[in-house]
Amino acid sequence: MFRRSFLLVLAALLAVAVFAAGCGKSKPAAGPEPAGETAKETYKIGAVVDISGPAASLGEPERDTLEMLEEELNAKGGIDGHPIDLIILDNKSNETEAVLAAKRLIEQEKVLAVIGCSQSSTSLAMVDTVTKSKVPMISMAASAKIVTPVEERQWVFKTAQSDIIVANKIARYLVKKGLKNVAFLSVNNAFGDSGLQNFEAAASENGINIILKEKFEATDTDMTAQLAKVKASKAQATVVWAIPPAASIVTKNFRDLGINMPLVHTHGIGNKKFLELAGDAANGVVAPLGKLLVAEQLPDSDPQKQVLLDYINDYQQKYNARPSTFGGHAHDAFNLVVRAIEQAGPDRAKIRDALEQITGYAGISGVFNLSPEDHNGLGEDSMVLVEIKEGKWQLLEL
């Protein structure tokens, strides 16, 4: 019995081995081999996206955008005639899965670069793997820790605006309106936590007092307890750092309690679901957002306007919906990789170098100016202040 049990376990493990080895025998890869192969060899790009699990609302539009862009690129003949094969894996919003997915893409599929992940935590989990294997990685997540300190992040880049940009924009708006005492509510996860830290920094730099800090869980259904404290406090404005549905619930609760002060959100609400869920409560909310949501209202001189309108148009045609800013991060990551491969060919190290040289690229998230010191390349001009009026996004100021 003992032996039989053990054999069963061994069989299971061997089965895993056979399957995993088997799936490695896929199409021939264009790895870091010397030049001289046939010109029509497929280029493989990997993507690890949080498609299911708690971050699915970020990962889904990213996955949809990536698939759309892969199709478009291949229809145009690929990169210099090389078709591309974009392999997208779901990490289930889970760090261990993210690491495994990265390894699978790097070892089995031998991709040239890895796009991923949707969240800061899953992205950070992959950093060690891509650094050891020397594969360029472009994250779609916000935390500045993903790309700094740059000496330890030689192989890592990101396309989402850093939270400090958002925090600064909010802080400056508050100062302009003379609102010095604020209450700060954040969601109790990495997104909210990063927001808290960055807003604390921005606040102290701009002379703002955070007189109240409260948290709520992403899955909470009622935040009136925390808001009761806000109402009782001497705050002049409230800042909320969360994404829908929690962000919408907070907004509704805020209005239900009749709290009479300006309500400021972040780029986390940048999709129309927030408006749908919050309904009338959303009117009057101000937030710094990527330009995607107000693309039509931008002046024609804006370098991003055309790119934004094209993206909106293509996405609308394919998916019958307006794209979100998260999809925009994926759009930029894909295009940066493609540009780098165009520049450097199928060589991982050269692609990494090429990425550092990209400047003036007008993407969805902003105009990218990458460099060896800055692996994000976005500045404060990548976001605009938007106010919600009558259920629509209105550009407030650039």
Binding site: A56, D222, T224, A228, G258
Partner: protein, 292 residues
């Protein structure tokens, strides 16, 4: 807002979320008392009820028929679940059966993700009225509906168990399955009834709470968990316990968030729960025979 209004607000907030937990706890308690199984997939029935109602409305179905259809669908799903996964395994251990419900919840959640994606959805409140003010604290009318549903459900259950033949048969089976069989009561039918009925309650809960909480494909997970906590806190032996447990959990959370630390509110609720379990192992309204 003065401190008294604040405390009153915490109470009302607790009542709102508490009645949500109470409904789910009720569904769990009904199933447990009839079959001895904790249906850990109950949260998914909340999701099915809520999201089906949303979809039906989106294709133009008017509110009431949409809600009724959604509830019926959830009931059928419950019945299907019982027939395909619980009934064949009826001789297995309770732990195995509970684990089977976990497997079903995983499958249902995947299906919900497939059908409804990750988007949050909402339903309109039953009445289009402004929030109600009591001495500086606020409660939305929809919360009162949720509470009313919970109380009505308990009332109906009592009426059912005390005044109908089937109800009495169920109670008999709960007390002594063998004796019940001897007088001709069929435990298999009861199991089917339990799962169908709890599916219906859960779906109703989903429809009632969505105007407050919004609905997403994974709403069931957290709600199911809190419902489970509430059920045991209240003492799983009776329906009133479920309500008490739910409301108590909601109030503890609200006060913890308001007076102590909003980041630690879940932790504090758990500490209180563990203390209750250690001092009153049968839960608050539970009978000692189910305790330590």
């Amino acid at each position: 807002m003065g401190t008294e209004s604040q405390y009153l607000q915490y109470l009302l907030t607790g009542l709102t979320s508490g009645s949500i937990y109470a409904l789910i706890a009720l569904a769990l308690v009904v199933t447990f008392n009839i079959t001895g199984i904790f249906n850990l997939a109950i949260g998914e029935f909340v999701t099915i009820g809520a999201l089906t109602a949303v979809s039906l409305r989106e294709i133009g179905c008017p509110n009431l028929p949409a809600y009724l259809l959604a509830v019926m669908l959830a009931g059928c799903t419950g019945a299907l679940m019982e027939r395909t996964t619980i009934h064949p395994a009826r001789r297995a251990s309770i732990l195995t059966l509970i684990i089977i419900t976990i497997g079903v919840s995983i499958a249902l959640r995947g299906a919900a993700l497939l059908i409804w994606r990750t988007h949050p959805y909402t339903l309109p409140p039953f009445v289009d009225a402004a929030p109600l003010h009591f001495l500086g604290a606020v409660i939305v009318p929809q919360s009162l509906f949720v509470l009313a549903l919970a109380v009505t459900a308990v009332g109906l259950l009592f009426a059912f168990f005390d005044f109908t033949y089937t109800g009495k048969a169920v109670r008999a089976a709960m007390l002594n399955q063998t004796a019940a069989r001897l007088v001709g009561i069929n435990p298999n039918r009861l199991s089917l009834f339990a799962f169908t009925f709890s599916g219906i309650i859960a779906a109703l809960a989903g429809i009632f709470i969505t105007p407050i909480t919004t609905a997403t494909y994974d709403m069931g997970f957290m709600l199911g968990l809190k419902g489970f906590v509430a059920a045991i806190l209240g003492g799983v032996t009776n329906a009133t316990g479920a309500i008490v447990g739910g409301v108590l959990l909601g109030i503890i959370e609200a006060f913890a968030a308001g007076t102590l630390s909003s980041g630690l509110k879940d932790a504090i609720a758990m500490v209180v729960m563990i203390v209750v379990l250690l001092t009153r192992p049968a839960g608050i309204l539970g009978s000692p025979k189910n305790g330590g």
